[in-house]
């Protein structure tokens, strides 16, 4: 089984034909996958770009008319703005809480195994279900308000405090409140992933570094800020970029929680494509814009993260 190795490394001297014949077996094995990726991943992307350049309602090609249309729409600009805000909000929440949870699970305490299992639970919850649950929690007659009512009752027992709680319509309030619910929902859903990434990072820090610091009399905070955090940077970068890519794509949660109140890019695209709008052209233009945004992060991923993962393997 050295054959394919040599074949790929050495340049075939006696022509393409011989090379093909020699590697017929390998070629037969990879062909289905290659064909699939070409036909159902790369070709559709090219096709989507073509659709987006087809002018309004599929007129002449090429034309940037559709892009002009899309960029003129207030709702599209809002969608971009919201996408960025949700991404920033959820990244901040996820990284800080994820780090805290990872630090917790890295300590030894009773029931650690149990807690680790519990923290992984959201992983088993379909995104659409977490959207449904967050709707139960954040609507005006939802369980968060119910909890806050209860808190206000308790607080009001204390003499001198009068706080009449007015229920808040978190999801339909618009603005930061609505975007905040999306970020919270997203955080709950991906907390296990972030935690596991950070946990791997924490476990990669050798114990003797801490021992040396302890001998030097460093406090816990110093050890955290001068050793743990700097050594986690590659893992933080990895989590950051991966999450950013996902945050730009966020769809189900935004669809369920914000609907038309606060559009994001994905819900805008779906809204254009699906009935009653039925306009694949502006939808395609929106998809290309989203694709371009994500490509920026993929390039960042390749430059900063992929190499480190490879060396870590």
């Amino acid at each position: 089984m050295v054959a394919p190795r040599r074949g790929v490394v050495d340049r075939p001297r006696s022509g393409l034909r011989r090379w093909f014949r020699k590697h017929a077996f390998e070629i037969a094995l990879v062909t289905p996958l290659v064909v699939y990726v070409l036909v159902l991943t790369l070709a559709p992307i090219v096709d989507t770009i073509r659709l987006s350049l087809s002018g309004p309602r599929g007129g002449q090609f090429p034309s940037v008319e559709t892009y002009r249309d899309v960029l003129d729409q207030q709702v599209f600009r809002t969608a971009i703005k919201n996408t960025v805000i949700v991404a920033l909000l959820s990244l901040a929440l996820e990284l800080s809480i994820g780090l805290a949870v990872a630090l917790t699970l890295n300590a030894t305490f009773r029931f650690r195994g149990l807690v680790r299992t519990l923290v992984l639970v959201p992983l088993g919850v379909p995104t659409i279900v977490s959207g449904a649950v967050m709707l139960l929690i954040f609507s005006r007659s939802g369980y968060l308000n119910s909890l806050l009512f209860w808190v206000s009752d308790v607080v009001n027992v204390v003499p001198g405090i009068e706080w009449e709680f007015q229920p808040l319509a978190w999801t339909v309030a618009g603005g930061w409140r609505t975007l905040f619910t999306i970020a919270i929902a997203d955080m709950w859903k991906v907390l296990p992933v972030i935690t596991l990434i950070f946990l791997a990072g924490l476990q990669s820090i050798p114990d003797d570094v801490y021992e040396a610091a302890a001998v030097d009399g460093a406090t816990k905070w110093q050890r955290f800020s001068r050793i743990t955090l700097p050594m986690l940077v590659p893992f933080i970068t990895m989590a950051l970029i991966l999450r950013a890519i996902d945050a730009f794509r966020i769809f189900e949660l935004a669809l369920v929680l914000a609907g038309r109140i606060e559009p994001v890019l994905s819900t805008y695209i779906a809204d254009r494509y699906l009935p009653p709008t039925n306009d694949p052209f502006t939808a395609a233009a929106g998809a290309v814009v989203l694709f371009a945004l994500i490509m920026v992060f993929i390039v960042a991923y390749l430059r900063f993260v992929a190499r480190r993962v490879e060396t870590a393997r």
């Binding site: 609507s139 005006r140 007659s141 009449e164 319509a169 339909v172 309030a173 618009g174 109140i261």
Partner: protein, 422 residues
């Protein structure tokens, strides 16, 4: 435009004048022979879960009588055009009979997706006013079920706010104020979700204030918008109104986001299922300064183009069965649906009686959406008006003048006479 307003549904009156003297359609509808044995069709109807059981039962009856095999599926009214486009394009219909929202028919005819059903005889007991609109003189759709929105009142909260169900628009504002004072926040929702819900709500407001939605900047329209804008500005309408539509209003009522809301009567079935119906009063709703106006919605039946002759025959028979006295009575009894016939008065169960009466009263003040080819533009501009005037607080007159101009342009472009003759 008076013509449209005159298309009222005066059920009691018509019930007296239309004399059913033949029984022949009972045989046609629910024939006892198993002459359709072996034919298999799919019937699409999208309902709230609570209303589905009665349909399933009727379909089973039809199956056992005719031997046909009927598969019931649910395609929502917004998905149906896309589904038919695919089916008809591929030349292999997967749906053979559908019930569709009568506010969403034009696109099906324009894109040539439905069979001409001019050869199908309507039972003579079908009320004239319940006959679906014809397109180019052809009958594409068969009547099935009329529907109007009625008002739901949270009895206990109204009691503690010392409010009574409003009978006029002014009373509606007073009640909204009282509810707000009691609750500390707005407790009335209007169904203003983008699309049909906003169009239906705004049409009712404009007509009840003496305006014409097709014009959109006449005095009645301006007064109606000023009224809604005022209520919104004074914080009398819950922000949930912007998402208010047929399927969110029951949730608002149950969650007490709204202590007062108007909605389609399946709400009653939903409340009953939750064991909450006794907490609500149901009545026909308030009237405007000019009149009471209730947009007549509901479902009609149609057959996609390209179904095989056998399946067409089975679909027509099923449609006729659904229009029969027997089926219509079942639907009245089980779902409290008003009938398309003058002779089908099932015994409505006591719990549904209040709703049924409210629906009948509202139907008598029904308003048919005008059959103009630029209706989609009117609907779009009414939606724009909601965003800009109600939500955005812009000047009513200025905005409506601008939107009127857009309707006029669109109507002329489509070759329609504008302003419409009345």
């Amino acid at each position: 435009m008076r013509r449209y307003l005159m298309a009222l549904v005066l059920i009691p009156l018509l019930a007296l004048t239309a004399c059913g003297d033949d029984d022949e359609e009972e045989g046609a509808g629910g024939g006892t022979t198993r002459d359709l044995a072996g034919t298999s069709i799919t019937f699409s109807i999208s309902l709230a879960q609570e209303e589905q059981a009665a349909i399933d039962e009727l379909v089973r009856q039809f199956e056992s009588r005719t031997g046909a095999d009927v598969n019931v599926t649910a395609i929502t009214s917004s998905d149906l055009p896309a589904k038919l486009r695919v089916d008809v394009g591929a030349g292999r219909p997967t749906v053979h009979l559908f019930a569709q929202d009568n506010l969403a028919l034009a696109v099906l005819v324009q894109e040539n997706l439905v069979e001409d059903l001019s050869d199908v005889q309507l039972p003579s007991q079908v009320l004239q006013a319940m006959t679906p609109e014809r397109f180019d003189g052809k009958q594409y759709f068969l009547p099935f079920r009329p529907n109007v929105r009625v008002a739901y009142v949270n009895t206990e909260r109204f009691g503690s706010a010392n409010a009574r169900p409003p009978a006029t628009a002014d009373e509606l504002r007073d009640v909204a104020q009282k509810l707000r004072a009691t609750a500390g926040g707005p407790k009335v929702t209007l169904s203003l979700a983008q699309g049909d819900p906003a169009a239906v709500t705004i049409s009712e407001w404009i007509v009840s204030f003496g305006g014409d939605p097709l014009i959109l900047n006449d005095d009645g329209s301006v007064r109606a918008f000023e009224f809604i804008q005022g209520m919104w500005r004074d914080g009398l309408l819950a922000r949930e109104s912007l998402l208010g539509k047929f399927d969110t209003e029951p949730e608002y009522l149950i969650g007490e986001t709204a202590w007062y809301a108007q909605n389609w009567p399946f709400t009653t079935a939903q409340l009953a299922e939750q064991g909450l119906l006794d907490r609500f009063d149901v009545y026909e709703g308030w009237r405007g300064p000019d009149r009471a106006a209730h947009v007549i919605g509901g479902d009609v039946l149609g057959i996609p183009r390209g179904v095989s002759p056998d399946q067409r025959r089975a679909a027509v028979e099923l449609a006729q069965f659904l229009m029969s006295k027997e089926a219509q009575e079942t639907l009245a009894e089980r779902n409290a649906w008003p009938s398309i016939r003058d002779d089908a008065y099932g015994t409505v169960p006591p719990a549904q009686k209040e709703t049924f009466d409210a629906v009948q009263k509202a139907l008598s003040n029904g308003w048919y959406r005008p059959n103009v080819i630029y209706w989609s533009d009117v609907s779009e501009q009414m939606n724009a008006a909601v965003r800009r005037i109600v939500e955005g607080g812009e000047n009513v007159r200025t905005v409506l003048d601008e939107l009127h101009g857009r309707i006029e342009t669109a109507a002329r472009q489509k070759g329609a006479q504008y302003p419409p003759t009345s």
